[in-house]
Each structure stands twice: as structure tokens, then as C-alpha cells.
């Protein structure tokens, strides 16, 4: 009997030991004494500027002694971060500053607490007019939700561009200057696939509808209009038809997942790739061929529209002191040099208007790199990532992905788009 008690207490002892070991590892919070702690949640993996985040935070922490920022990487991109935010909320906590993916803007603002930057600025006279000085109106508007609240500030900005494998283009006799419209891209892709061993085009098929949105909205169709799905019209059909034809009819475009497709482009098996600008570093560092870039095209005679990828920065804490601290850190992140480092490290576009002019390296990058240049020039064409309202937005996005899969697998376009539109609108009611 005694010995069995020993066994049971051994169990408890092991748990206890593990507890001690664990708490030692995570008990350094308390040493910071009087300083205000700002928990900053980001999604920047090591391949996506993780180091830059660390460096910026370090620089900020060393620049003053009031505030200490504690960065925390969240795996699984914006979706992973949202999961963690859910858990934290379920436990009754919230970080101070978080990156919110554009596609989660509505979901986040409907379900979580946030404070508008204007609320904070109101009390600080020196920051009056800060927002207007820093951001283009269309860029700032990206972070405004359907109810008109400013959820946060645009931070990571990406747009899709066309990456070009110049070796293949030269072999096929396609000139980058020709790629001015989607129709032209289709022709070029056809030429490439017919005259070389390679695929002509790859449009990223990530677990989102981002690239397709660029395609459709640049044919004057709208994914969403007045809070309702509105893509199932002639313009929309036409845009999708062009995409589907390249895959099913011309067989000039590659239809594959985004990891494999990006790999295929980098290894030199695809001529043109419609990918986020955030892939620039990965591609230019690893491709063995000459890479160039041109802006995403529109359809003939239509206005170019590029959806904003990336994230906004939202202040989520209730604590006023922390709100102030988070704001200080935010301003630091938007300083020209910080933005330059950010752009360099992540491949994202500078979200502020003054960064390029105030930082020589950034200016040089923008002037010399065709890919960066292409993306940067698209900023004036930026539109928000289809912000479906309410709690069903995530599901609406999922339906758009399903629609893409169906159409690219050969489903009739009109029917499928209409059905999806109807399904989404039923959801949104």
C-alpha cells in the first residue's frame, strides 16, 4: 500500500519537475520591471523576414527605455495567427499589436476588440495629420472595414506581378513589352508552350482567391459589390474563361498547387508566373536564369486592379498605457529606414508615401529592380482583398477556392460561377 502511494506520488513529482523546467524557460517577463511591455504578434517566418522583425524590435527597444516590445512569431500565416488570437481571447487575454491578414479584416473586426488609430492620435497633438501624411488614401482605406471603422494601419503590402523567365521568353521570341494585357499574356503563353519544352504561364493557386481576384477585377468585374458577391456576370465569365482556356484548351498554363508551381518556376520549367511580390527574394536568389518582372496586366481596355496582399497592424489591447506604447512602436515601424529594412527583408512594398524618397537604398531598389518597380507602380491600382462581411467571410473565401478548383478541372464556367455566387450570397444574408 505504501509503495503504491509512492508510485502515485512519483507521477505527481514528474509533472511537478516538468512544471518547474517549463516555468524557468518562460519566466523572464517579470524582469522588465517598470517598462511597458508590448506583445507584438507577427507571421514572419524565417523565409519571410523573420530576422528583420527581430532586428527592428531590437533597434526600437534599444532606442528608448520606456517600452519593451516582445515579438512573437505565429506559424501558419494569418490563419495561424487568427487561431492563436481565438485561443488567447478564449482565455480572456489579448496581445497589444497584431498583424491581421487582409482577408481576415472583416472577421477580425467583427469578432475581436481593436482600437482605431484615430482614437489614439486624438490625444496627441503632434501626430495630428499623421495618417494623411503617411498613406495614400486608397492604401489607408484598405484597413477600413465595411462599417467604416479604421481597423488598423496597412503594413505588409504585396501585389501580384508577372515574373518572367527571360531565358525562356527569349527562346520563344516573346518580348516583355508585349505583355500589356491578359489577352496578350495568353498569346505569349501559347507561343512559349508551343515553341519550347516549357509551360507558358503559372498563376499561383494558393489556399486563397487572391490571384484570381486580380484577374477578374481587371476585367471590370467585382468579386464583391455592396456587400454581395457580384462576379457572376459577362465580365467575370470572360476573365475565368481566359484562365480556364489556357489550362484546358491551350494547355499553355500550369495547373498545380502553389508550392509546387513556385518550385517549377524557380527550376526554370515555366516562362511566366503570376505570383506575389513577396516571392521576389526567393526567386531572384535561387533562379539560375535571368528573371525580370512586369506589372500584372488588365484585360484589353480595362482598368487594372490589384488586390492588396499582406496585413494591417491592429492595436488590440485594452490597457491605455499599452495602447500608447504600441502606437509609439507602430510609428517607429513606419519610419523611412524601418520601412526600407522591412521591404528589403520581406519583399513587401513600402506602404508609406515618404519611405522611398527618404531612403536611398530603397530608392535604388525601386529604380533598379524591375520586379519591385512593377509592383510599386501598381500601388495606385490597389483594391482591398474581397472583404466579405460578417462571420461567414472565411467560408465565402473557401467557396471561391472551391469554384476555382471546379472550373480549372473543367466545370462549366457560367453555371459554376452563378451557383457559387448564389451560395455565397445565401451565406451572407
Amino acid at each position: 500500500m505504501k509503495a503504491s502511494m509512492k508510485l502515485v506520488s512519483l507521477l505527481l513529482l514528474i509533472l511537478l519537475l516538468a512544471a518547474c523546467g517549463n516555468s524557468e524557460a518562460s519566466s523572464d517577463d517579470t524582469q522588465n520591471g517598470e517598462k511597458t511591455v508590448v506583445d507584438y504578434w507577427h507571421v514572419n517566418a524565417e523565409t519571410q523576414g523573420g530576422q528583420t522583425v527581430e532586428e527592428l524590435v531590437k533597434e526600437f527597444n534599444e532606442s528608448q527605455d520606456e517600452i519593451i516590445v516582445e515579438p512573437r512569431y505565429n506559424s501558419g500565416m494569418y490563419q495561424g495567427l487568427m487561431q492563436n488570437l481565438q485561443a488567447e481571447a478564449a482565455a480572456g487575454n489579448a496581445p497589444a499589436l497584431v498583424q491581421i491578414g487582409w482577408s481576415y479584416r472583416e472577421y477580425f473586426s467583427n469578432n475581436f476588440h481593436f482600437i482605431e488609430p484615430q482614437e489614439i492620435i486624438k490625444n496627441i497633438s503632434e501626430d495630428e495629420g499623421y495618417l494623411e501624411e503617411k498613406f495614400l488614401p486608397n492604401v489607408l482605406a484598405l484597413a477600413e472595414n465595411n462599417d467604416g471603422s479604421q481597423v488598423g494601419l496597412p503594413y505588409s503590402l504585396s501585389t501580384p506581378i508577372l515574373y518572367l523567365n527571360m531565358d525562356i521568353l527569349n527562346e520563344a521570341g516573346v518580348s516583355p513589352e508585349d505583355l500589356t494585357s491578359w489577352e496578350a499574356v495568353k498569346e505569349a503563353a501559347k507561343t512559349i508552350s508551343e515553341s519550347t519544352d516549357n509551360y507558358g504561364l503559372y498563376i499561383a493557386e494558393a489556399a486563397d482567391n487572391w490571384n484570381v481576384q486580380q484577374l477578374i477585377e481587371s476585367n471590370d468585374a467585382a468579386i464583391i459589390n455592396d456587400g454581395k458577391a457580384a462576379f457572376a456576370n459577362e465580365q467575370g465569365f470572360e476573365a475565368y474563361q481566359l484562365y480556364a482556356d489556357m489550362i484546358t484548351e491551350d494547355k499553355s498554363a500550369l495547373h498545380i498547387g502553389s508550392d509546387e508551381g513556385t518550385q517549377a518556376f524557380v527550376t526554370g520549367d515555366v516562362g511566366i508566373a503570376h505570383l506575389t511580390i513577396a516571392q521576389r527574394k526567393n526567386i531572384s536568389d535561387n533562379a539560375a536564369f535571368e528573371v525580370s518582372g512586369v506589372p500584372s496586366p488588365a484585360f484589353d481596355g480595362e482598368q487594372l486592379k490589384v488586390p492588396a496582399g499582406g496585413s494591417l497592424l491592429a492595436i488590440t489591447t485594452d490597457d491605455e498605457e499599452k495602447q500608447q506604447a504600441a502606437w509609439e512602436f507602430t510609428k517607429f515601424l513606419y519610419e523611412a529606414d524601418s520601412i526600407a529594412a522591412w521591404t528589403e527583408g520581406t519583399g513587401y512594398l513600402p506602404p508609406t508615401v515618404d519611405a522611398v524618397d527618404n531612403n536611398d537604398e530603397l530608392k535604388a531598389l525601386m529604380d533598379e529592380d524591375t520586379m519591385m518597380l512593377s509592383a510599386y507602380h501598381q500601388l495606385e491600382n490597389l483594391v482591398p482583398w474581397a472583404p466579405f462581411p460578417g462571420g461567414s467571410g472565411l467560408q465565402a473565401e473557401q467557396l471561391l477556392i472551391d469554384m476555382r478548383d471546379k472550373i480549372l478541372a473543367g466545370a462549366p464556367i457560367e453555371e459554376t460561377m452563378k451557383a457559387t455566387q448564389e451560395e455565397i450570397n445565401n451565406l451572407l444574408q
Binding site: 505504501k2 514528474i14 494558393a206 536568389d285 535561387n286
Partner: protein
Amino acid sequence: MRTNSFLGILWHTIFILTVFILIFPIIFALGTSFKPLQEVYNNVLNIIPIAPTFDNYIGLFERLPMIQITMNTFTIATVVTIMKMLISFLAAYAFVYFDFKGKKFIYFIFIASIFIPFTVTMIPNYLIMSSWGLADSIFGVILPQISDAIGILLINQTMRSIPFSLIESARIDNISHSRIMIDIILPLIRPQLMSTGIWFFVNSWNEFVWPSLMLKSVDSYTLPLALQMFISAEGGTDLSVAMAVSIVTMIIPLLLYLVFQKYIIGTFTASGIK
């Protein structure tokens, strides 16, 4: 046993091919982990790197708290293994050596729980851990992993191989149950327990889904989670570093296996499910 040589050659060919398919990915990962990323993309077929480099490993240890991450993985796997073995051992002992009301039914309930897919308990466990403040703690990872009836099943099987009279002999000598466990059962089934333990350890070491839901900060990561830091939908996948992480992740399980393989295969073979 003699068989005709054609059949033998045919089957040897099939076996060698199978072994190749199973082992090739590991060799491929090893080769890739010593390649610069550019070479990964452009020299797909060179398993042995043209320009071998340690940069992937060096960079990995510079960029991530790999020691901490390995320690986390080790701590979780060790605690899970010991706890799971202990509670399963106690339960199996009760099931094998006692008669009590409802024994069969209770045993059935536990064994049936093996059939519950992890998605069924995932959300509530997630909520429990969050509300206990154990999200992002190794405890949040450990606790649900301990509650796995496979341990009861396997140890129960093993215990049954001990002649009942040994326990009766001890009981008649007024030896307490705990003493019987320690002095008699434990030494007799130690090899099987070791193998089972190694198996649990490796499974917990490799566990991905639950830790990926639980653990948030890099400092509390486990090795399989470190892997995904080099895979990003937007920034691209750094395959060569990812493979370096993979190799680091594999080392302990493979060492355990190769050192104890005769022993592991031996006990798996000797005590197989009857």
C-alpha cells in the same frame, strides 16, 4: 528452407526496390540539407551536393533557439512517455491481476477510446488548455497525449505473458502489489516495456497536429514545428534549411532505433499482438 532460385531472385528484387523507395527520401533529405538552395532547385538529381555547405545547419542554429527547441521536444516526449507508461502500467496491472465489478466493461471503454479520431476531442481540449492558461505551454501539449489507451492495450498484452502463479506466489508471501510490480513484473517485462517506451517516445517526438495548435512562441516550439518556419505560403519554402531541420528532427529517433533495433524488432516480433 529451399525455394527455387527464380522466385528468390524475384522477391529479393522486390524487397530491394521497396527498401530503396523507403530509404531514398532520407538520403535525399540528407543530401539536400548540405546543398545551397540554388543547387536544390537547379541540380535536382545530384544527391551528393556539388558544393557541400554547412551553412544550412549553421544558419539554422543561429536563427532559431534550436537547443531550446530540441530540449522542449525532448522534455515533452520524455514526460509523455514516462507518464503514459506509468498510468498504463498501473491500469494494465489492475485489469490483469484483479477481478472487480465491471472490469470487462471498463476495459472495453478504454480500448474503444482508441477509435476516437483526434478531431473529436480537439476543440474541447483546445478550450480546456486555453482556459487553464496552458496554451503555449508544454503541459498543454503533454496532457492530452498521455491519455492514450494504446499503452493499456500493449502493456496488458505483455503482462498476460507472465505466469499468473508468479504473482500468486508473491501474494501468498504477503508481498504488496506495488512490490510485485517493482520486484517481479517490471524486471520480467522490461525489454517489452523499453520497446513500447521507445515507440511512444518517438511518436510523441514526431507529433505535429496537437503541438501546432498549442505552441505559439518559438521558445516553446518542438522540432516538427520548427520545420514550418521555413515554409511560408508568401515567402516561399527554404528547402535546404527545411531539410536541415528535418535531419535534426530525425537524429534522435533514428539513433534510438538503430541502437536498439535488434531489441525493438525482437520484442515486437516476440510479443506481437496475439
